[in-house]
Amino acid sequence: MTDLLNALILLANFVLVPALSYGSQLALGALGITLVYGVLRFSNFAHGDTMAFGAMATMLATWWLQSAGVGIAPLPTALLALPFGIAATALLCIGFDRAVYRYYRRRSSPPVVFVIASVGVMFMVNGIVRFVIGPDDRQFADGARFIMRARDFKEYTGLSEGLTIKVSQGMTIVIAAALVAALFWFLQRTRTGKAMRAFADNEELALLSGIDPGRVVMVTWTLVAALAAIAGTLYGLDKSFKPFTYFQLLLPMFAAAIVGGIGQPAGAIAGGFVIAFSEVTVTYAYKKFFAYLLPAAWEPQGLMQLLSTDYKFAVSFIILVVVLLVRPTGIFRGRTL
């Protein structure tokens, strides 16, 4: 019995908790991608770097707050700095929309032109981030590190396996849940949110109903910027901040958006967790888990790991390919808001 409990705690510690927080980060990122796709109708390759920019802006504000001695311990100061990061990212997104995307929107250019334009934006944002903060790893987490320590858990339960929950993980899950609830409330219940959905659903009819497209676009970018800055900051707090890793998040985020059904906010969230759980379960080494469950004689020799963590991106890719082959519209029949 204790063996079973130990095995389950082991899984919770190394699979459930990390996948939940990683899934929340992916879901927020995929939500941003899906909003751009639904309303503005293109795959935004700059989204990863937009997240890096948001995290960077938050980080700069965090350092400034720290130097001024302001903090909200035990929570990280970065939380206090988030509004600044969101505002800076919103300015960046709206600025690029004005300078770049609006022109192609007016000409009704095909989506692939927007995609290439987003590559240009990606380069520029990437350059800005590296210029301001450099390409290296940065830590900006402060405050308490753990909600629950493995040692405390063991003492409390008497089990030999411990459960660790980091503040960054707990915070990620709580904030993501609150943010998603707020976003759904906004889209389903407010006049502006409904106008956004209408615009995504049928642009021409939305215009015929008097919905102001400029406003819809503006609101969309603001939401996208907020999601990106928050997702970027949470990811940076949880792992660490490195510009290139944000670019690499593009693939799992796109996979999450497509798997869920691109353009579908609910799909982006489902997709984020599907990708995160697959990645973590496939790359986890189950040796110890089986050691608890199986008789000693059957104890596995190898690591019992399906795939090395070096190939975690392959997991998103394979899921993406399977979805494209089997059900190209994704779990929630895509392309709407």
Partner: protein, 482 residues
């Protein structure tokens, strides 16, 4: 003088300027990478310009070309095949059988949960069995003299074969990706290629038995002479001597030998680079000629017809997805050739250096800046953008150095000097966006037939794949605030 001739003359002048101002060795080094960049951007242009396909995985195809260079040209590793070759082949066979079984199950069984479970189970079991052979095989290979080899080794063939093999490798990968992602929305191809590129590079970094992973394979054989050998070759020394006879004669005889030795060293390096340049230029010229021929053939006309109006071409019974697959494979093969050439030039294979900004998106900047749809444009873009990419770094440093120098040494200046190199990313993005917006046809826009500019309105801004105009509301934003 035609626009193209003018543009290429200016490009040559720029390179010559580097030769005079910095050094000829540097100018030739840049030229060689310009040529390789031109090959890769030609490949991307075939996909984008002929068919409007967005390939975001150029890096992966280039890396496969590099892998080909290793597998074809490096010396065989004694005992590697004996150690694990057989089991490796068995593993590959089982894996192939697994895929075949999964596909067969999918075809035979009625759709539903049972089929999904059966296919998943077949894949899982097959992979587990394949791994039973694969893991010890690779471990055995990697255990073989790991400091020096630890990999399968190559065929020991002349490296020029590797260029063709690089094309073939990339074509194979392109076939796989294209089968899955073509025929769906255009962005799905972009995302699928982005993914396959990351995976290819991850495999190359981690599968040490294949090409030593991040331990790199160095000392690949060359298609051109080695500097050391040239420096000891009589004919070469005599040529250098006669070439510089007057300068040498002007020197005091005591210094002559030392000066000649230095000259021989300099010239040997230049000579090697020139040989590479000649080879690369020959490949580029051949590819250009081939694609020009293809473009003007009935096949090329059909491709353009499809590109200009997919809907009507589809209505006329053209199998668009199959054509797109052809073009995608061809373009990827050209990229693979470029990748193999690059690895050959470097003389080593370093999976850690494949970076998507440099190997995928920079190539895209080349294509769009040069002129999408236009082969000469893509070549020019390859030259110009690579040149700017390389020279932007010293230029940016120089600029920041001079701008901040008056304020003395402080932290900000140090920071700016440290990070100045990253501004070239910003610059590339800016150039891309400016060209797309203000000169969507690029520097050398696509021409129909003999140099006659095609209808204005051009490419990147409009996309070659722009479908027929549909009647539409005046687009958003032009709307008056109601």
């Amino acid at each position: 003088m035609s626009r193209a001739a003018l543009a290429f003359s200016l490009m040559a002048a720029l390179l010559a300027l580097v030769g005079v101002m910095q050094s000829w060795s540097l100018a030739l080094a840049i030229l060689n990478l310009c040529l390789i960049s031109a090959v890769m951007s030609l490949g991307v242009n075939i996909q984008w310009g002929y068919a409007g396909l967005f390939n975001a995985g150029v890096m992966g195809f280039a890396a496969l070309g590099g892998l080909a260079a290793v597998l074809v040209s490096s010396a065989p590793v004694a005992g590697a095949w004996q150690a694990g070759g057989a089991r490796l082949l068995v593993a590959a066979g089982i894996f192939a059988a697994t895929i075949a079984a999964a596909l067969a199950l999918r075809r035979r069984m009625p759709a539903g949960g049972a089929r999904f479970a059966a296919v998943a189970a077949a894949l899982f079991i097959g992979c587990v069995i394949a791994r039973y052979f694969y893991a010890p095989a690779t471990a055995a290979i990697e255990a073989l003299n790991p400091a020096k080899h630890g990999n399968l080794g190559g065929l020991g063939l002349p490296v020029l074969f590797a260029w063709a093999a690089g094309g073939a490798f990339a074509a194979g990968a392109a076939w796989l990706v294209g089968k899955v992602a073509l025929g769906l929305r255009s962005d799905y191809l972009a995302i699928a290629t982005l993914g396959i590129a990351e995976i290819i590079v991850a495999v190359l970094k981690n599968e040490d038995w294949l090409a030593r992973g991040v331990k790199n394979v160095t000392g690949l054989s060359r298609p051109v002479p080695y500097e050391v050998n040239l420096q000891q070759a009589d004919w070469f020394v005599r040529r250098v001597e006669s070439f510089n006879a007057s300068e040498l004669a002007a020197l005091p005889s005591a210094e002559r030998a030392a000066a000649l030795q230095q000259l021989v060293i300099d010239y040997s390096s230049l000579f090697v680079k020139l040989c590479y340049a000649g080879l690369f230029a020959a490949v580029l010229a051949a590819l250009l000629a081939l694609s020009a021929t293809a473009l003007n053939s009935p096949w090329g006309r059909m491709m353009r017809a499809i590109r200009d109006n997919e809907i009507s071409a589809g209505a006329m019974g053209k199998n668009i997805t199959a054509r797109h697959l052809q073009v995608f494979i061809l373009g990827s093969a050209v990229i693979g050739i470029g990748g193999a050439m690059l690895t050959t030039l470097d003389g080593q294979f370093t999976p850690g250096t494949y970076h998507p900004l440099r190997f995928t998106f920079l190539i895209w900047v080349m294509v769009i800046v040069g002129g999408s749809g236009s082969n000469l444009g893509a070549v020019l873009g390859g030259f110009l953008v690579w040149f700017v990419w390389v020279e932007a770094e010293p230029a940016g440093l120089w600029l920041i150095d001079n701008l901040t120098a008056p304020f003395g040494e402080n932290a900000l200046r140090a920071h700016l000097m440290d990070n100045a190199q990253h501004m070239r990313l910003f610059l590339m993005g800016l150039v891309l966006l400016l060209v797309m917006r203000f000169s969507p046809g690029g520097i050398l826009p696509e021409t129909a037939g003999g140099g006659r500019a095609k209808k204005a309105g051009g490419k990147a801004g409009e996309s070659p794949a722009a479908a027929g105009t549909k009647t539409k509301m005046p687009p958003p934003d032009s709307a008056a605030r109601a």
